[in-house]
Amino acid sequence: MSAFLALLKRDLTLAVREGAALGTALGFYLVVVAMLPLGLGPDLKLLSRIAPGILWIALLLAALLSLPRLFEADQEDGSLEVMATAPLALELAVVAKALAHWISTGIPLALAAPVLGLMLNLDIALTPALVATMLAGTPAISFLGSIGAALTLKARRGGLLIALLVLPLYIPTLIFGISALGFAGLGQDGFTASFLILLAISVASVAAAPVAAAAALRLQMS
């Protein structure tokens, strides 16, 4: 087994055994989505209109708040330093870890979205489009987020700070994710274009973010 796969497998195993992390993220997603109708009143038309936006933003927040632990655990027990002396480039290690975060948090959150959509009276016909855009967009969330997680490894106030650093980077994903759903809802054919842009953003962040994150990690080891 290659080093990359070994790390991916280890992080996924840990995510399964420490299931609480995913549970907390899903719980947070649920609570935030549930609060909005409370805040906005039970106007079903209004709710279904803003549902895509709300599902996306709550998903961003839930994924975001699970990011601080991405490198922290490995730093606390010393694994991170050992990894830095291994043949696998730290950049690739970051890719493996961010990928594991996507699989263990991004995908479950994306799959939970349609269920929560029901609470917001989201058109059921939109479900495939919703899940597809979220699956295409969440890699960007995990990978861009890895930059924030790496930068704030030694900072106090982890959670809030990561959010402030990373949310601006999420804005393109958010905009195209929601616009894709908007097109899908109106039956217009802009959907494919938006969806492809979303994919492109994800691919670009998979390529670029690990470099920045690995640089930040290295700086903090010295």
Binding site: M1, L7, D77, G78, T85
Partner: protein, 199 residues
């Protein structure tokens, strides 16, 4: 900071870095491992096939064990084996068993590592030295929280490694039962550490 230091270590040799607290032992070892960029000077490795990147052929064992509480002892080692050297499942399992056996952890192989005692965790961390073979070992106080028996196991391991032509650089106060270790003595800093320096 450490300054005016120059030394060479040859294959088959153990270099023991000694000195009082705060002398810079940890700093030196972390510099060799490549974590800290030296302000001036360089670390170089001369191989048969030209110069190689030192960090890529060394094992670093620091104060932390790199052991995951939620993986079993065997899983922990299997991960590091695959991470350092790759190889198929059977070969890895064999190396893992060897390593566990050497440190007397075979009985605990399937226990979550979180249940092990501090000394056992430490031994599990050291077993990493066996599962993947690297020519250079950088050890920072490897005997901390090890009892006499475990220290002896470690010393035996180091001797084997040296006999096989390996190189060991260790910060430690114990001679580790080595025949003729080379000592590198670092002096105490004159000034006290700056208050910002967190140990």
């Amino acid at each position: 900071m450490i300054s005016d230091l120059s030394f060479t270590a040859k294959a088959g040799e153990a270099l023991l870095v000694v000195g009082p607290n705060g002398a810079g032992k940890t700093t030196l070892i972390r510099t060799i491992a490549g974590f800290i960029a030296p302000v001036a000077g360089s670390v170089s490795l001369k191989g048969d096939d030209g110069d190689r990147d030192i960090a890529a052929c060394c094992h670093y064992v620091g104060h932390l064990t790199g052991v995951k509480a939620n993986l079993s002892a065997a899983e922990n080692l299997a991960f590091w084996a695959a991470y350092f050297d790759g190889g198929d499942g059977n070969a890895i399992a064999e190396r893992v068993d060897d390593a566990l056996a050497h440190f007397g952890l075979l009985d605990l192989a399937d226990y979550p590592a979180g249940l092990l005692s501090a000394g056992q965790k430490r031994r599990l961390g050291l077993a990493r030295l066996i599962v993947a073979s690297r020519p250079i070992w950088l050890l920072d106080e490897p005997t901390v929280s090890l009892d006499a028996a475990s220290t002896e196991l470690l010393a035996k391991l180091i001797q084997q490694h040296l006999a096989g032509g390996g190189l060991v650089i260790a910060a430690t106060h114990l001679p580790l039962g080595l025949d003729e270790p080379v000592y590198l003595r670092l002096g105490a800093r004159t000034a006290t550490p700056s208050p910002e320096a967190r140990p």
